[in-house]
C-alpha cells in the first residue's frame, strides 16, 4: 500500500494552499457576512486551471485526477467552505456528468468551457417534494418536435443563479418510475428557464443556493444527456462522485478549524498558562486530530479508487459520512476551545461550524450514506 502522494499532487497542494491563504482567505468573512458569491475568486481559479482538474486536456481540463481534485477542494475549504463547495458542485455535479455521459459534440460544446472555467456548472435534481426521496421527481420533460419542453422546479441548487450550464433531471415517462427519468443540459439563457428564490442559509452563505423554475422551457433534443430513461442512474453515479468532493470539503473545514485552534491555544493564556498546557484541552485536540487523520484516509481512498476505475460508491459514502460528522464535531469543539471569543465573528471558527453543518445534509444526508453502506455490507 502506497500512501504517498506523487510529486505533482504535492505541488498542486502547495499551489492551492498558497492560493487559499493569499487569495481566498482574505475574502472568506466578508462573503459570508454579505452572502456574496466570490466571482472574482472563480475567475482567478479559472486562470490557474483549477476548474477542470480531473478532466483530460483535450476537453479543456488540467489533465489531472480525482485525488488531486479532492486535495484542491480540501485546501480551499480549510480557509473558506463556500469556495470549496463552489468548486465541488461545478466539477463533480455540473461538469462530470457531461464528461461521463455526454456525446463528443456535447463535450466539445459544454465540457470544454466548463473545464476551462469559462463557464460555471450546476446540477438540478432536488425538488420541493424530492429531497432524500430523489426519485419522486415532478419536473416533466415532453418531447415536442425538435425540443423537449420542461416544466417544474428545482430547489436548493448550489451555484444556482451564477451557473451558465445546468444538468437537470426530469420525468420523461411518469409511468416508469425511476426508469422514466432523463437528464438534460440546460443553458441559463434557454427560453422558459428562470431563477427563483435565493436561500438565506446558516452556513456557506457566499454560495448561491437557489430555486430553478421551468415554464415551457425549450431544451433542444440534442441536449438530452445519455439515453432516455437513464437519468436516475446518471444522477446517482454523479452524486457518488460528488460525495468525494463534499467529503474533501468537510475534511478541509475540519482541518482549518483545528489549525485555528492550535494557533489560538499557544497564544491565549488563562491562569498564567497557555491553553495548550491544559490536559483536558490537549485531549480534545488529540481526539480532533485523530478523527481528521481517519477522515483524510477515507477521502483519499475513495478518490484513489475512482482514479483506478474501481467501484468507489461505498467508499465515497463512508468518506462523506465520516468526514461530515468529523467536521461538525471538530468545529463545535473548536468554538468550545475558543470560548466566548469563538462565538463571535472576531474569529473564523463560528463560521466554520456553520459551514460544517450542511456537509451532513447535502449530496445525500448522513442517513442516506448509511443506507448506501449498509446495502453494500448486507448484500
Amino acid at each position: 500500500m502506497n500512501f504517498s502522494l506523487t510529486k505533482e499532487q504535492e505541488m498542486v497542494r502547495t499551489l492551492l494552499k498558497e492560493f487559499g491563504e493569499k487569495v481566498v482567505k482574505p475574502l472568506a468573512a466578508e462573503i459570508d457576512a454579505a452572502e456574496r458569491f466570490p466571482r472574482e475568486t472563480v475567475e482567478k481559479m479559472a486562470r490557474y486551471d483549477m476548474m477542470g482538474i480531473p478532466f483530460p486536456k483535450k476537453y479543456g481540463g488540467a489533465g489531472g485526477d480525482n485525488l488531486t481534485y479532492a486535495i484542491a477542494v480540501e485546501e480551499l475549504s480549510k480557509v473558506c467552505g463556500t469556495t470549496g463547495v463552489i468548486l465541488s458542485a461545478h466539477t463533480s455535479l455540473g461538469a462530470h456528468p457531461i464528461y461521463q455521459y455526454g456525446t463528443e459534440a456535447q463535450k466539445m460544446k459544454y465540457l470544454v468551457p466548463l473545464a476551462k472555467g469559462e463557464k460555471l456548472g450546476a446540477f438540478g435534481l432536488t425538488e420541493p417534494n424530492a429531497g432524500t426521496d430523489s426519485s419522486a421527481q415532478q419536473t416533466v420533460a415532453i418531447l415536442d418536435g425538435d425540443n423537449y419542453i420542461l416544466d417544474g422546479s428545482k430547489v436548493f441548487i448550489t451555484n444556482g443563479g451564477e451557473a451558465d450550464i445546468y444538468v437537470i433531471l426530469a420525468m420523461t415517462n411518469k409511468s416508469k418510475g425511476n426508469k422514466g427519468i432523463s437528464a438534460f443540459i440546460v443553458e441559463k439563457d434557454f427560453k422558459g428557464f428562470s431563477i427563483g428564490k435565493k436561500e438565506e442559509k446558516l452556513g456557506i452563505r457566499g454560495s448561491s443556493t437557489t430555486e430553478l423554475i421551468f415554464e415551457n422551457c425549450m431544451v433542444p433534443k440534442e441536449n438530452l444527456l445519455g439515453e432516455v430513461g437513464k437519468g436516475f442512474g446518471i444522477a446517482m453515479q454523479t452524486l457518488d462522485g460528488g460525495r468525494i468532493g463534499i467529503a474533501a470539503q468537510a475534511l478541509g473545514i475540519a482541518e482549518g478549524a483545528l489549525d485555528e485552534c492550535v494557533k489560538y491555544m499557544k497564544e491565549r493564556k488563562q491562569f498564567g498558562k497557555p491553553l495548550s498546557s491544559f490536559q483536558g484541552l490537549q485531549w480534545m485536540v488529540a481526539d480532533m486530530a485523530t478523527r481528521i487523520e481517519a477522515a483524510r484516509f477515507l477521502v483519499y481512498n475513495a478518490a484513489d479508487k475512482k482514479d483506478q476505475k474501481l467501484p468507489f460508491s461505498t467508499e465515497a459514502a463512508m468518506a462523506k459520512l465520516y468526514a461530515a460528522e468529523t467536521a461538525m464535531e471538530v468545529t463545535t469543539k473548536a468554538v468550545q476551545i475558543f470560548g466566548g471569543y469563538g462565538y463571535t465573528r472576531d474569529y473564523p471558527v463560528e463560521r466554520m461550524m456553520r459551514d460544517a453543518k450542511i456537509t451532513e445534509i447535502y449530496e445525500g444526508t448522513s442517513q442516506v450514506q448509511k443506507m448506501v453502506i449498509a446495502a453494500k455490507v448486507l448484500k
Binding site: 505533482e8 505541488m11 499551489l15 486551471d49 482538474i53 489531472g64
Partner: protein, 262 residues
C-alpha cells in the same frame, strides 16, 4: 529571444527556526521554495514571452538532486527548458565557485540574449553571483532592476538606488538582477504542474558535462571560509534621552564618559 534564468532552491526562511542551543538553522522539515528574487526574474521572462511570443526561457540551477522540484515549478509556471547542474563536486561552494559553475553551464547552453538572476538569495544574502557571472562572461550588468522594456536588442532598464533610480539603456547580451518591485510572480497553473512532470524534462548536468576545472568548483574552489555562525547577543533596549537643552547634553556626555566611549 533567449533568456536564461538562474534560480536557487532555498529554505523558506519564514518557516525556519533556530536551534536555541547552537544558534544554527534547523533545516529538517523546512519547506523549500524558489528564492523570491529569482521568481521575479522568472516572472519578467514569462511576461516577455506573453508579450512577444518568440521567447525561449531556460531555467538553470546549481543544487542537490532535490532542486529538481524547484525547476519543475519553474516549468509549471511556463519555462521551456530546465537544467539542473548537480554533482557532489559542487558541494560546499561559495558564491565564487557557484558563479564559476553557472558560467560554465551557460557557456555550454551557448546562445542567449539575457541572463536574468535574482538580486540575492534569502539564505546567503550576498548578491554576488549575478555580478560575478557578468564579469566572468565579460557582459554588461544591471543590478536591482525594478522595471524594464525590451525593443529589438536594446533594453531600457530602471535600476533602483537607495534614494531613487537610474534609467539605463543596455545592449544584449547582458546580465540583469531582479528585485521584488519588478513584478508580482504568477502562480504555477494546475495544468502546468502536470505538464512539468509528465510532458517536460529536467536535464541533469554533472561537472563532467560542463567541462569545468575541478579546482574552481565546490569547497576546493571556494575562497570564502565560514569560521562560525552565531546569533548575536540581543542588545539591551537602550535609554532614550529627550530634549536638546544643555542639561540633556551634559547627561549624555556623562553617560558616554562612564562607558569610556569618550
Amino acid at each position: 529571444m533567449k533568456i536564461i534564468v538562474c534560480i536557487k532552491q532555498v529554505p523558506d526562511t519564514n518557516e525556519v527556526k533556530l536551534d536555541p542551543k547552537t544558534g544554527t538553522l534547523i533545516r529538517d522539515g523546512v519547506p523549500s521554495i524558489i528564492n523570491h528574487d529569482d521568481m521575479n526574474a522568472l516572472e519578467e521572462a514569462l511576461e516577455l514571452k506573453d508579450r512577444y511570443g518568440d521567447v525561449e526561457i531556460t531555467v538553470l540551477t546549481m543544487g542537490p538532486p532535490q532542486a529538481d522540484v524547484a525547476l519543475r515549478e519553474a516549468l509549471a509556471m511556463g519555462a521551456d527548458r530546465a537544467i539542473l547542474v548537480s554533482d557532489r563536486a559542487f558541494a560546499g561552494a561559495d558564491t565564487w565557485a557557484t558563479s564559476n559553475t553557472l558560467t560554465a553551464a551557460i557557456n555550454k547552453i551557448g546562445d542567449f540574449d539575457i541572463i536574468f538572476c535574482g538580486r540575492q538569495a534569502i539564505d546567503g544574502d550576498t548578491a554576488q553571483v549575478g555580478p560575478q557571472i557578468a564579469e566572468k562572461l565579460d557582459l554588461p550588468q544591471i543590478t536591482y532592476v525594478q522595471k524594464m522594456d525590451i525593443s529589438a536588442d536594446v533594453g531600457t532598464v530602471q535600476r533602483a538606488l537607495e534614494d531613487g533610480y537610474e534609467i539605463i539603456e543596455v545592449k544584449m547580451p547582458c546580465v540583469l538582477t531582479a528585485i521584488k518591485e519588478l513584478n508580482t510572480p504568477r502562480y504555477a497553473s494546475v495544468k502546468g504542474i502536470f505538464d512539468a512532470y509528465r510532458e517536460k524534462t529536467v536535464e541533469n548536468w554533472t561537472a563532467k558535462d560542463i567541462e569545468i576545472n575541478p579546482e574552481i568548483i565546490g569547497l576546493n574552489g571556494s575562497p570564502t571560509n565560514v569560521r562560525k555562525t552565531f546569533t548575536p547577543e540581543p542588545k539591551g533596549k537602550g535609554t532614550l534621552l529627550t530634549g536638546c537643552d544643555r542639561d540633556t547634553v551634559c547627561d549624555l556626555f556623562g553617560r558616554l564618559k562612564e562607558k569610556h566611549i569618550i
